[in-house]
Amino acid sequence: MKDVLSLALVHLATAVRERITLFWFLIFPVFMLVILSLIFGQIGQEGEISFDITLINRDETGGFSDMIVTLFEKLAEPQANGQEPLFSLYVPNAGEDTDTFLIQEKAALRRGKRAAVVVVPSGFGETLAGGMATGRQDTASATITIYMSHTSVASEMATEIIEQMLAEVDRELLIEAGAFDPADEIAAQTIWLGKQGEETRYVDFLLPGIILMGFFTNGLFGVPGAILFNRDQRILRRYWVTPLSVPRFLAGFALGHLALCAVQFAILFSLGRYGFGATVSFLRPAAWLTLILSAVTFMAFGFLIASLARTANAGMAVANILNMPMMFLSGLFFPIAGLPPFLMAIVYANPVSYLANGLRVSLGVESSTMRPVLAIAVPLAWIAVSVLVAARRLRWDVER
C-alpha cells in the first residue's frame, strides 16, 4: 500500500511542479470561470457594462428635450459604489456647430468608437407639448433619431437600452397628458419554471461546467502526457526493474490523478463560491457520484489516447484535436439545442455531454436533456472501451 501511496504523491507533486501543467489544469479553468462569469454572468446589468454615446440636442425650446438630456446625463454620472456608469457621454462643446459635430460622431460610430449617436431634433419640445395639449401627437416631428451600426453588437445593445429608456419617458409623458392610465396598466408577471422557482444564476450554471472542464483536460492531457513522456524518456523503464507491478503502478497513478481532480475541485469551487457568489450546493450524493464517474471516465479516456499514440508528441496532438470539439459540443458552455444532425451525432457520442447534463441535473441547475440511464451507461461504455483498448495496446516501455 505504501508504494501505491508514494506513487500517488509523486504524480500529484509532478503535476503541481510543472508550470505548464498547472496552467492547463488550474489557471486556465480559473481564467475561464472568471472571464465567462464576468461577461455572461452580468450581461445587461448596470455597472457592469458601459457604452460610449453621443447626445446632440438641437432643440432650443428646452422643457421636454432638457428632460431627456438630464436623463442621459444622470446615466453618465460616476456611480457612488465605484462602478462604471452605463454611458460615457459625448456632447458638442458650447458654440460648436452641431452639423459638423454630428458628421464627426457618425464617423466615430462607423469606426466602432461610439455605440450610438442620439439626436433630439429642433422643435422637439414644442411639437411634443402641442401634441400633448391637443391630444393629437405628431410623432413624425417628435422623433428622436438614434444613429447606430448593425455591424456592432454593442451598438445594437446600446440602441435597445436607449429605446427602452425613451419608451419609459414616453409612458410618463402619456400619463402626464392623461392619455394613459397607469391604474389600468397590466403588469407583466414573470414565472420561472424550475425546481427553485427563480432564475438560475449564471455562475451556478457555469461552475459545474468549469469543474468538468478541469477534470476533462486533466484526463485528456494529463494522463497521456504523464504516461507517454515518462515512457519515451525511459522513466517508466526504471519502475519495471523494481518489484513494482503494472497494476500497483496503475493504482498509484489513478489515486494521484483523483487527488489532482480533488485539488482542482476544491480550488474552483472555492473561487466560484467566495469569488463569484455561487450558491449551488455539491453536497448531494448524485453530484458526487457524477463527479467521480467523470474523473474516472476522463482518466480512462486519457489511457485510450495514450494507447493509440506512438509517441508523446503524437499523444498531445490527438488530445489537442479532440479537446475543442469534445468540450464545446457537450453543452458545457453553450446551448447545443439547435445544432445540425452531423454535429448532434458528436454530441450524443460525447461522454462529456452526458456527464455535464448529469452533473447539472443532479445539482438542480439544468433540466434533463438526456435519458437518465444514458447519463450513466454512455460514460461507463467509454470506460469499458478505453480500458479494453488500453489493456491490449498500451506499451509500458519504449520499443527496442
Binding site: 481564467f31 466602432g112 410623432t139 455591424t151 484535436i321 464545446f328 433540466s367
Partner: protein, 361 residues
C-alpha cells in the same frame, strides 16, 4: 542576396516545406483548427444575441379577446407563435424546450413563463417580452406614443450577424498562432534538437533560414485563411467584401510581426521546449480577451483595458476591416499593419542572433 544565399534559401525553402508537411501539430493548428472552430461556433453562436427567430408559446384563456395581444406579438418581429390549450401544456413545452418562452393571458393577467435554466438566453427573451408587454398596454388603452424613436443604421457595410464578425477574428487568431509557433514552436524545437547548431557551422546565413520559414508560413497561413473564409461563405452563407490588397498585405505583415512576438517568448523562456507551451497558453488567453467570440464592450472596464492592449484585438479589427465587415479609418488600418511590420523589422535581427547563438543552459 548573394548567389550562395539564394541557393541556401531555395534548399531551406524545400526543407522547410517538407518539415511543415510532416508536422501534424502545426498543420492541425494552422489548417484544421480554424475550420473546426468555425464549424462548431458557427452553429453554436451564429445568432449571438439575436431573438428574431424565437419560438414563443401562447395560452389565452377561453372567451378572452386575443386580437390586441396578437397585434403586439406581430409588432415585435418575426416570431413563431405556438398556441396551447392549457397553461400546463404550455409550461411543459417551455421546460421541454419546444418553445423558447411562453406568454399567458387570462384577461386580467399577462404572464411570461421562462425556463429558469436557460441562463444564457433568458436575458434576450426578457427583452423581447418587455417590448411585447409595453406595446400591449399602449394598444389596450388605444394610446398613441407621444414621441417616437427612429434607429438609423449608418454603417457603410451591409448588416451582418455576429458570426460574420467572428470569422475574421478566427482568421486573425490563425495568423497569430502560425507566427507565434513558427518561432516559439518550430525554431525553438530546432534549437533544442541542436539542428541550428549544426546549421550555423555551414555557410548558410541565418537570414536564409528565417526567410524560408517566413515564406513557408506565409503561404500556409494565406491558404488557411482563404480556405476558412470559403468554408464560412459556403457552409454558413456569410458575406464578405474582401479588399484583396489589404487582406494580402495585412496577412504578410501580421505573420512576420507575430513571429517577432514569438521571438520575445523564445528569448524570455529559458527552456526552448517550454516556449511553444507558453505561446499556446498566451494565444488561448488572448483568444478570449481580444473580442473574438464575445464583444469587448461586454467585458468589465479592467478587462476591456487588457483586451485593448493585446495585439490580437487589433489584428482582429484589421482583419474585419480587410474582409469588409466593419468600418475603420484607413489610416488606422495601415497603422496597425505597419506596426506589425515594424515589430518584425525591430525583432528579426534579434531572431537572427537567437538562431546562431548557442543554447543557454
Amino acid at each position: 542576396m548573394g548567389c550562395g544565399t539564394m541557393s541556401a534559401f531555395r534548399s531551406l525553402l524545400v526543407a522547410e516545406a517538407r518539415i511543415l508537411s510532416r508536422d501534424r501539430m502545426a498543420l492541425f493548428f494552422t489548417l484544421a483548427f480554424p475550420l473546426i472552430f468555425i464549424l462548431i461556433f458557427g452553429f453554436l453562436v451564429g445568432d449571438f444575441g439575436a431573438v428574431s427567430q424565437s419560438r414563443i408559446g401562447l395560452h389565452v384563456a377561453s372567451g378572452v379577446d386575443r386580437s390586441v395581444l396578437d397585434a403586439s406579438i406581430a409588432s415585435a418581429g418575426s416570431i413563431v407563435v405556438e398556441s396551447f390549450e392549457s397553461l400546463d401544456a404550455m409550461e411543459n413545452a417551455v421546460t421541454d424546450r419546444q418553445v423558447d418562452f411562453a406568454l399567458g393571458w387570462n384577461g386580467s393577467t399577462l404572464s411570461f413563463h421562462y425556463d429558469a435554466n436557460r441562463v444564457q438566453e433568458n436575458y434576450a427573451f426578457q427583452q423581447l417580452a418587455a417590448g411585447i408587454a409595453s406595446d400591449f398596454n399602449l394598444r389596450r388603452q388605444q394610446a398613441t406614443p407621444a414621441m417616437s424613436v427612429e434607429p438609423i443604421d449608418i454603417g457603410d457595410v451591409a448588416p451582418t450577424g455576429w458570426f460574420n464578425i467572428v470569422l475574421p477574428g478566427i482568421l486573425a487568431f490563425s495568423v497569430l498562432s502560425s507566427g507565434l509557433f513558427a518561432v516559439s514552436g518550430h525554431l525553438t524545437a530546432m534549437k533544442a534538437r541542436k539542428v541550428l547548431d549544426r546549421m550555423v557551422v555551414t555557410p548558410m546565413p541565418p537570414v536564409a533560414l528565417l526567410a524560408a520559414i517566413v515564406v513557408v508560413r506565409l503561404a500556409l497561413g494565406y491558404v488557411s485563411t482563404l480556405v476558412t473564409l470559403l468554408v464560412g461563405v459556403w457552409a454558413f452563407g456569410l458575406q464578405y467584401n474582401v479588399s484583396w490588397l489589404r487582406f494580402t498585405v495585412f496577412i504578410g505583415c501580421s505573420t512576420v510581426g507575430t513571429m517577432g512576438i514569438g521571438t520575445i517568448i523564445a528569448l524570455v523562456v529559458r527552456q526552448p521546449s517550454s516556449a511553444s507551451s507558453i505561446a499556446n497558453a498566451l494565444a488561448m488567453v488572448m483568444l478570449f480577451l481580444a473580442g473574438i467570440y464575445f464583444p469587448i464592450e461586454f467585458m468589465p472596464g479592467f478587462l476591456r483595458a487588457i483586451g485593448n492592449a493585446l495585439p490580437l484585438t487589433h489584428m482582429a479589427k484589421a482583419m474585419r476591416y480587410a474582409t469588409g465587415v466593419i468600418d475603420m479609418a484607413e489610416t488606422e488600418f495601415w497603422a496597425i499593419t505597419l506596426a506589425f511590420l515594424a515589430i518584425a523589422v525591430v525583432l528579426f535581427p534579434v531572431l537572427a542572433r537567437y538562431v546562431v547563438r548557442p543554447l543557454r543552459r
